[in-house]
């Protein structure tokens, strides 16, 4: 045990209660999965994490449940910031573990569905601490199968409505799972500013509220509990001290334990911390506050957590600076209007490339372009790229922002003597990572 480690962090998970037969069955599935992943890698079809998870689960339908057992789990979910927050929390825990980092496993690559989580866990059978990025749709299963100690709920907003018709149904699944888990359920670390999050977390045995500085309030006009109008919301981009409340029932913004103020994080004792992260933007200060609160639950002191979080630079390629062709680019990802609202203010180059696609992973409907305040790019030289560049071009035209259209990503990135910020939806972002040698 490292000298500085707190007893809480030093505490080992209870061993998994699975029989030798079940263990052998799982090991065989993992071995087959490893082989499939290896085949995928050498044939250039990607990391193979998902293929591995898929095969393991096919050979042992209880693979995920078994792999989750015997670990102290912190799950991280929400619409935006999952990957970065998972990296921040994992880095905080790693700092707390000192030389004992092999106790930690995390799905650092952003593969956050059943298969991705199972695949990550299978690589570290003896790690008893797991920090798991968890897709919103998988949260209920992870609560049920993995009995996480901590669940971080970051934020909740509209995302790919062509697939998820009612955003409340996901929040309802969290609420139901937390209620069913009862005293065995996780301590929830949650954003007090978002009504849907507050409603979902109400059924948890205990919640640590974190007041972030959300700039997106457009998905919470009505009370998730009773359907009445909510009041006291800050308009998007504006911030007042006012807390929200429902006009029809007693749902209201809870008193936070942790809060974010400017670039600082204030802990429950009132100590002000300056995170000074390498990942940019106000949004990531909020993510760090939630990660610090989660780390504290696991037994990592604030100072140690910050020391760890400062090492995080480019989680799964996000915010990475790299070279594509002869151009120095910084890669930014935004997957929905709230994500764009957070990411646009980070842009600090005169020329910016915005890359838009509309395959399933991006959302097939690009109407969201009209919920993003592209007007703030006035004065910059914007290059619209990707298969849906023309939809963006028309949006920019009505925003009276200067633009050129270059659908081809390589062409859009060519011929820039100065560094360029590139903000992309999911599919072009993954292509850009590859082009930049990052994936």
């Amino acid at each position: 045990m490292a000298e500085s480690m707190t007893p809480e962090l030093a505490r080992r998970a209870a061993p998994a209660r699975i029989t030798r037969g079940q263990r052998l069955h799982l090991n065989a599935a993992v071995a087959a999965g490893n082989l499939a992943a290896f085949a995928s890698r050498i044939s250039g079809r990607g990391s193979g994490a998902s293929i591995k998870g898929q095969l393991m689960t096919k050979l042992d339908k209880d693979a995920l449940a078994k792999l989750l057992q015997g670990r102290r789990i912190a799950a991280v979910s929400g619409t935006n910031g999952k990957t970065t927050t998972t990296h921040l929390l994992a880095a905080a825990v790693r700092a707390g573990l000192g030389a004992d980092t092999q106790r930690l496993v995390t799905n650092a690559d952003g593969a956050n569905l059943h298969y991705g989580i199972a695949s990550a866990l299978s690589t570290a059978p003896y790690a008893d601490l797991a920090v798991l990025e968890t897709d919103e749709r998988v949260v209920a299963d992870v609560i049920r199968l993995g009995k996480p100690e901590v669940l971080v709920l970051l934020n909740f907003s509209r995302d790919q409505l062509d697939r998820h018709h009612e955003i409340k149904s996901l929040a309802r699944s969290w609420r139901t799972a937390l209620e069913a888990a009862g005293a065995d359920g996780p301590v929830v670390i949650a954003n007090s500013q978002e009504p849907m999050i507050v409603w979902a977390a109400q059924t948890a045995k205990r919640v640590v509220w974190v007041e972030t500085r959300s700039v997106w309030a457009q998905d919470s006009a009505l009370c998730p509990a009773c359907g009445s109008e909510l009041r006291g919301h800050d308009a998007p981009g504006e911030q007042t001290a006012q807390r929200w409340h429902c006009t029809g029932c007693d749902l209201a913004e809870p008193e936070p334990a942790w809060s974010v103020s400017g670039d600082t994080i204030i802990d429950p004792e009132g100590t002000v911390w300056e995170p000074k992260l390498q990942v940019p933007g106000a949004f990531n200060v909020s993510n760090a506050a939630l990660a610090m609160a989660a780390a504290a639950e696991l037994g990592v002191p604030a100072g140690t957590a910050i020391r760890g979080m400062r090492k995080v630079t480019a989680p799964a390629g996000r915010f990475a600076t790299t070279t594509i062709g002869d151009t120095t680019v910084r890669l930014l990802l935004a997957k929905n209007p709230a994500g764009w609202a957070e990411a646009l203010p980070i842009i600090n180059t005169d020329t910016v490339v915005l890359a838009i696609d509309s395959v399933a992973a991006d959302g097939r409907d690009v109407s969201w372009l009209w919920d993003v305040d592209f007007e703030q790019l006035a004065g910059k030289n914007v290059i619209a790229a990707g298969p849906r560049a023309l939809d963006l071009a028309v949006r920019l035209s009505y925003a009276e922002v200067d633009f050129t259209v270059k659908q081809d990503l390589a062409e859009a990135l060519a011929g820039h003597p100065n560094p360029v910020d590139v903000l992309a939806t999911y599919t072009p972002f993954q292509k850009l990572r590859k082009m930049g040698g990052l994936a």
Partner: protein, 235 residues
């Protein structure tokens, strides 16, 4: 004259970027030198009796029910129709203009605003995807209306309403027709910034409100987008 565009309850009815329609109308008027303003009305504010074009967008069931209650209590939208102002509503906004619409898994009937002679009930399958229609009574390339639809309700028109368009690809009202027109009240399913994809429809609304024709606006990217979307949906 000056032109006042009113965006109604964006926080309730604006889930798919529908506020884009307000931006499009405002800019297309201003680019022609017309003194146009945009007024955003949220629950708690009164609808202005000075408005020339009222815009309603899409929203979930609960938001639809709230919007109807608030708009009935306000009365401003009904007064606007009485004085022949233009109303343009998409998706859920279109549904609430009718006599009734269904909500929830049980398709519970809710009373609408009664400004369009239509009724909406749950259809056999959810309509999600690109839609292409032909605008009734219009000719040429601009008569093709392109958009994205995402709705579970199907709409039946009564005798006082006429369909806006005829479906080529997609679902629309569910019976081969799309949208409804009654006087200067227009409803349509393609949500989000449907006017950005169909500038002729945007100009039609402006002309209805202004009472006179408009010179064309040339914007290459708008034409290119139309070409691309029409080609994509026709395969």
């Amino acid at each position: 004259m000056s032109l006042e565009i009113v965006l109604v309850y964006q926080s309730l009815l604006g889930i798919y970027g529908d506020q884009g329609n307000a931006k499009v109308l405002l800019k297309r008027a201003q680019w022609r030198g017309i003194d146009a303003t945009l007024t955003q009305v949220e629950p708690g504010d009164a609808l202005p009796d000075s408005g020339d074009i009222f815009l309603l967008g899409g929203g979930e069931d609960g938001a639809q029910t709230s919007a109807v209650r608030l708009l009935k209590a306000d009365g401003g939208l009904h007064r606007a129709v009485d004085r022949d102002a233009v109303v343009f509503a998409v998706c859920a906004g279109y549904q609430i203009l009718g006599h009734s619409f269904g909500v929830g898994d049980a398709d519970d009937l809710r009373e609408g605003l009664g400004l369009l002679d239509v009724t909406t009930t749950r259809g056999p399958e959810r309509a999600v995807g690109e839609i292409l229609t032909h605008w009734n009574g219009h000719e040429g390339e601009q008569a093709w209306l392109t958009g994205f639809e995402n709705h579970g309700g199907y709409t039946a028109l009564g005798p006082q309403a006429t369909p806006l368009a005829t479906v080529e690809v997609g679902i629309g009202n569910g019976d081969g027709t799309e949208g409804a027109v009654q006087g200067k009240v227009l409803g349509t399913y393609p949500h989000g910034p449907v006017l950005a994809r169909n500038p002729a429809l945007a100009d039609h609304l402006l002309e209805q409100a202004l009472g006179h024709g408009l010179d064309p606006l040339e914007r290459w990217e708008h034409d290119e987008l139309r070409r691309q979307r029409l080609a994509a949906v026709r395969g």
